[in-house]
Symmetry: C2
Subunit: 352 residues, 2 copies
Amino acid sequence: MTVEVPKLIAGLERGERRALARLLTVVEDGDPARLREVVAAIYPRTGRARVIGLTGSPGVGKSTLTDQLATKLREQDRSVAVLAVDPSSPFSGGALLGDRVRMQGHHADAQVFIRSMASRGHLGGLSFATPQAVLLLDAAGFDDILVETVGVGQSEVEIAATADTTIVSLAPGMGDGVQAAKAGILEVADVFVINKADRGGAGQLESELRGMLEMGHALEAPPPGSDGHPDGDDEDRDSSDVEVAGATGQGAWWPPIVRTVAVRAEGLDELAEAVDDHLAFLDRSGLREQRRRDRATHTIREIALEAVRRRFAGLDASDDVVLEDLAAQVAARELDPYTAADRLLEALEDAG
Amino acid sequence: MTVEVPKLIAGLERGERRALARLLTVVEDGDPARLREVVAAIYPRTGRARVIGLTGSPGVGKSTLTDQLATKLREQDRSVAVLAVDPSSPFSGGALLGDRVRMQGHHADAQVFIRSMASRGHLGGLSFATPQAVLLLDAAGFDDILVETVGVGQSEVEIAATADTTIVSLAPGMGDGVQAAKAGILEVADVFVINKADRGGAGQLESELRGMLEMGHALEAPPPGSDGHPDGDDEDRDSSDVEVAGATGQGAWWPPIVRTVAVRAEGLDELAEAVDDHLAFLDRSGLREQRRRDRATHTIREIALEAVRRRFAGLDASDDVVLEDLAAQVAARELDPYTAADRLLEALEDAG
């Protein structure tokens, strides 16, 4: 499509960081033709990296935690890419500044790559762009990809859930603990971190969290009193002889709660170990393949929806039915929004 | 479609709260046929309420602030509906419990209605359901509708942005202020609240916020040094003689920063006044009509996208091309996700 993309992909294959950075900009800009070209070219080279999601509310110290986990993984001689996804910032300028600040701790290390991503060109936002950025980092050959995202909204939880292992981070004293540890976050957590654990309230937060986990299991698991993780019940009957950290038996996964003080690099060994344990559990149970299929489903659906959104936008530019006109009629109460949506979809089919 | 819906709508028209509650459940459940019936029936009765969005990170005291603002509006003899949108909770049980707790302050007052909404049946989540719930509350005749949402992700910011006036709430000591006041939140804010303003750090947070606002304007407004709000520049040249709170001149809107201590009901007069001022500004400048057209556009697009998502889901159940099969091929690297998305869309067109 463009002369530039094949060159960049050749650069990516030679391990050039600059080519990777420019390809990530292609993903961020969201031009569909270029994106398609990039993803089709790199796709066969993907599927090797461990993808680790890290989510939590603003103020729990996610950035520091991510950086420290990256440092820990580097000590294990693994190459690490950090993708800091910021759904609340439409500006990449600030994101890039953030990258520069954050790179300082790792700037001498070619095996660490840090990139912030904000929603820019693409209509579908970061739930569309993130999986494709992960594919790029995977194709670039990183052993581990840390996807850090502010985890409050449903779409951000979804982003984290496209990882192999999702770490949910909390901190004492952030409003009330129960509010921070909402059910949607509980559902996606494979590992919990209580960061800033040197603060008062860490013990109480952990108790609340355990209470919510037990209540969640009691609500969801078919037989009350069963200790199986609802997601793991069917797949892991064969692994009952294996001991895993945080598991309560039967090979099911019960998310461990790890305490850290990221600013002092405390608890990071335990966190890295919990991640290893969870990934080993995924492999044993067959859930890793399941999660990768789920991730593929998510990616396909988002790409298809993005295409539909673009068709809607394209209709705006045509002479026939225009979303803007429909909106004016709806705003004037001349048309109800469902009838307007029908007309939009009809116009789409006629145009396609 | 169902015998029940016309009865409920008749009840709504008679001002019955129980009918309203049950219709909101129809919205929350997301059955497309029933939703369509409800929205088409009520739509002509909508468009009268003031819609006020209130957003902020967890822990800033949004619920208390919303409740206190509702109390203040009641003192002005306005009827108030509160829609507490929680994108992080998939459970409505907790939401209902929360409603009961929150209703206690207003339980004797028939002119206050409080409802939490979690994402349940609908695939499109709360950015699909929220505008339709707002329509219902509007049709029920409330003067003011307060839409409270956790505002961190893009979709939540979008929900807030469908309001006439969006209040962004912050608090000192929630991690660092700059992180909390991300650009995406700055963009949608019509009014800022610094809640818990009796805490240390309120002054610093306000300074940071003013700095970010000035930087944002310098980045976005065409001539640096101009004091026009980017959204208001074109529409409000005629209102240069009007003084509005928080405006810097030329009739443009500069979001005021209001300090509150919601638990002690402090600063609520100022907040209610800032909301009035902003709504008056919207009317004068013609932006209110623009926002209502934008909201209609958003609603139509979300309804159409939801229909497309349902068609994707419907394909899963058919014998032909199945998203699950495509995902398995993509996960096995036999197919790239763009080609898979093409096939999904082709299958959709064939089925349609």
